[in-house]
């Protein structure tokens, strides 16, 4: 009884957003799980080396849960340790794709009423990349996780060029077929090949003078919005993106651009109901 009433009064500590750190089972314990391999035989010295590395990473109370011999000359560690560092959550600012999420019906409606013609969206896996699982999930009728693909949209003319499309070929087709948006899927990332290919595409687009006319979107498991921006794209989408996420963005972006053209440098621009212009 007494214990119960005591508990009722007990207040669980709230997260300190000014000094945020990892949570295990007690607020601000800073618990982190780590796993890495050192290229030495397991030994007391190897264990000590792992601990010292963790200390250098900013950990304390380092507990080596296991040291395994992964192969001759390789020691694998699983370690739990408490992080000393904190971050100020209230000062964090992240670049995000700027678009409200809409359903397929809403997007079709928006294109029909505000644009009045079908949007041509072209998709491809570029360079040597042959992994079409991502672009297919976005483009194909079937879609992904219950969200229909762009082919299903009444007001989108989706054209999937498939795998290993060269940048030149993609841009040539985009111009020839009056694409409104180009979706590029990159899965292979060894030696940052995805970034090289993406930058190359945008350099070519710039030379052709079409980088402002067409909305360029990148996607892939290792693609993020900031990375896409860095490569000159307009937006980037990562793991778990649904076709309607991409379509929502494309439509908003095309509307933003057409409004910009119709009403150049006006004060009224500030009052625009649509979200802020994208960062380039």
């Amino acid at each position: 009884m007494t214990a119960k009433s005591k508990n009722a009064k007990y207040e669980v500590a709230q997260a300190n957003l000014k000094k945020l750190k990892p949570y295990g089972d007690i607020m601000d314990d800073g618990t982190v799980q780590l796993c890495f391999t050192l290229p030495v035989e397991p030994s007391p010295e190897a264990r000590e080396a792992a601990i010292q590395l963790c200390e250098k990473m900013g950990f304390e109370q380092i507990k080596v849960a296991t040291m395994e011999r992964a192969a001759q000359g390789f020691a694998l560690f699983v370690i739990y340790a408490n992080l000393k560092h904190t971050v100020d959550f209230t000062r964090i600012h992240v670049l995000k794709v700027d678009a409200a999420r809409r359903s397929r019906e809403e997007i079709d409606e928006l294109i029909a009423t505000r644009i009045g013609r079908k949007l041509v969206v072209m998709g491809a896996c570029t360079g040597y990349d042959a992994h079409t699982v991502g672009i297919d999930a976005i483009m194909n009728m079937k879609g992904f996780a219950g969200d229909y693909g762009l082919e299903r949209y009444q007001w989108i003319d989706a054209r999937n060029l498939g795998a290993q499309v060269l940048n030149d070929e993609l841009l040539r087709r985009a111009v020839a077929e009056n694409a409104d948006a180009v979706l590029v899927s990159k899965v292979v990332t060894q030696h940052n090949i995805h970034m090289r290919d993406m930058k190359d595409l945008m350099n070519r687009a710039k030379q052709m003078g079409i980088n402002e006319k067409i909305v360029f979107v990148a996607g892939g498991p290792r693609v993020t919005h900031p990375l896409a921006l860095e490569c000159g794209f307009d937006a980037g989408f990562g793991v778990g993106t649904k076709p309607s996420d991409v379509a929502s963005y494309i439509v908003e972006e095309i509307l933003r651009r057409s409004e910009k053209q119709r009403a150049p440098v006006q004060v009224a621009k500030k009052k625009r109901p649509l979200p802020k212009a994208r960062r380039k």
Partner: protein
């Protein structure tokens, strides 16, 4: 030992349909050759060098075959002009290959009067080439017997643990492969650099840079096999080596793989058509000659049906996999391969959130085992629904391993917790192998202890897939294979008969086409 009560009449009909479907294709194959087959022929004769051509290293066989093709005298095959020039110059194949590639000797169509002399010499050279393949096979079989080898095509004794390495650098691959072998791996596959299948030549020499994998070259094969020989002796069990015999150089890879004693080759009659957009005729003609070599060297092929389930829904498209397996089986048999060399592929790729998904996967895997009882079937892990949650991913792999051991799969390509993130790290592979060893040991005899409820969910699903397969094969038979592929019979991909890469490299065999290898390879070889 059939465990599901499947309709054997339906299975027989599927095989008959596959035979009927491939018949016109086999006739087409017999009337053609390709640039790659002619290159492979020269390689088997010993032309395996490379020359410098404007900053690029070009294999000798490419220079020679291109020159003959441009001169319009390849329709009778490379052997007439090549052997003619050998007789004239007195050079060995290797020496002549060098001189011809440097364009110091020009090859030309020999006068008809010399035909008999050339044909006799060509036969002699091809016999030597086949003896070379047989020699490599004997060395390999000897090593297996010497160090011990538990591999069993029917999957008895549990699945073979198969993992991939893919650093891009062959020397780093060796470190990873040795570590994997020590942890318990029994087969190592060196993943090829992205899109090597689209190169119309085999790169030359040892390579240290690749994207998403390491280039397949003769020297890379040799380096890895040498390391695995050493590791096999150290560990007292034979470690298999795998590479990719697909794409525009399929016959050449088969030749080089056989010479360098590879054990497994990924080789599919239709994969290149569907997933690499390689011309249909090119792929089908090339796969046949490749499989002639593979049959002679007794290499186990792995077909690529698992890929169908990554682009098409796995729950709805099980019948496409099975239909393709029947067709792959038929083409392999036509090329002289025996059942114990046909590693028909399939995968566990259904949506993990599907109700009773585990039962459906169990049904499909058991069905594959029951329908191909003598084949070393290969089971591929979940990839499609994997994401960065490595813990969930590890669990998916555990369920996959349980299905594999329960249903008696022969070769189990182990899933990686970091699938969809990066090519496996040493520790990822170690974790996966530990997972598989635990389950393969702990549930070793589970399959023979349980029976499936007659008419229950598992048997019902397998029966449904088999029925759908029969319908699918009937449709393909009615349309013909080429038109069926054009109309998306497999993997929801459409390809045209004259489209795709490599079509220009398909040649009609002219009157007087000469290549004794086709007959010699089919003879079977020593103690089959």
């Amino acid at each position: 030992m059939s465990r599901l009560n499947l309709d054997t009449a339906q299975i027989q009909e599927c095989r008959k349909l596959a035979e009927k479907i491939s018949k016109p294709v086999e006739e087409m194959i017999a009337g053609h050759t390709t640039l790659a087959i002619e290159r492979a022929t020269l390689r088997l004769l010993g032309v395996n060098g490379a020359v410098q051509q404007s900053q690029q290293v070009v294999p000798e066989v490419n220079v020679i075959i291109e020159d003959l093709h441009k001169a319009g005298i390849l329709g009778q095959g490379v052997l007439r002009p090549f052997v003619g020039a050998m007789l004239d110059s007195g050079l060995s194949p290797t020496e002549l290959g060098r001189q011809a590639a440097l364009r110091k000797v020009k090859l030309s169509a020999p006068p008809p009067g010399r035909s008999r002399q050339i044909e006799a010499k060509a036969l002699e050279l091809c016999r030597q080439a086949v003896a070379g393949l047989d020699g490599a096979r004997t060395v390999r079989d000897g090593l297996r017997a010497q160090v011990g080898d538990r591999f069993n095509a029917q999957g008895k004794g549990g699945p073979c643990l198969y993992v991939i390495v893919a650093t891009g650098n062959i020397y780093e691959d060796v470190v990873q492969a040795r570590a994997a072998a020590q942890a318990g791996a029994e087969a190592i596959a060196v993943i090829r650099s992205t899109a090597q299948s689209l190169l119309d030549y085999v790169p030359h020499g040892a390579t240290t840079e690749g994207f998403g994998g390491t280039y397949a070259t003769q020297e890379n094969f040799r380096i890895m096999r040498e390391a695995l020989d050493e590791e096999s002796k150290k560990l007292g069990r034979y470690i298999r080596l795998t590479n990719y015999c697909s794409g525009l150089c399929m016959p050449e890879i088969a030749a080089l793989g056989a010479l360098e004693r590879l054990d497994f080759l990924l080789n599919d009659a239709m994969y290149g058509i569907l997933f690499r957009d390689i011309n249909m005729k090119r792929t089908l003609i090339d796969q046949h000659f490749s499989r002639n070599i593979i049959a002679r060297s007794r290499i186990v092929i792995h077909t690529g049906e698992d890929n169908y389930l990554t682009t098409a829904d796995a729950t709805e498209n099980g019948h496409q996999v099975l239909a393709s397996q029947f067709i792959n089986e038929r083409f392999a048999r036509h090329a002289g391969m025996s059942d114990d060399l046909m590693g028909l592929g399939h995968a566990q790729e259904m949506n993990p959130e599907h109700p009773n998904v585990f039962l459906l996967e169990l049904a499909r895997a058991q069905m594959t085992r029951d329908i191909f009882p003598r084949s070393p079937i290969k089971f591929m892990p979940p990839t499609r629904f994997k994401c960065g949650d490595i813990f969930y991913s590890h669990l998916m792999d555990a369920m996959f391993n349980l299905v594999g051991v329960t249903t008696g799969q022969t070769i189990q390509l182990l899933g990686m917790p970091t699938e969809a993130m990066h090519t496996p790290l040493l520790q990822d592979r170690w974790m996966s192998i530990k997972n598989a060893r635990y389950i393969f040991n702990g549930a070793r005899d589970l399959g023979s202890e349980i029976t499936f409820k007659p008419g229950g969910m598992v048997e019902g699903w397998a029966t449904k897939v088999l029925g759908d397969t029969l319908t699918h094969l009937r449709m393909i038979d009615a349309k013909g294979l080429f038109r069926a592929i054009e109309e998306k019979a497999f993997a929801e991909v459409s390809r045209k008969e004259t489209g795709g890469k490599g079509h220009a490299g398909v040649l009609t065999r002219e009157e007087g086409y000469l290549n004794p290898l086709f007959d010699l390879l089919g003879e079977g070889g020593p103690n089959p």
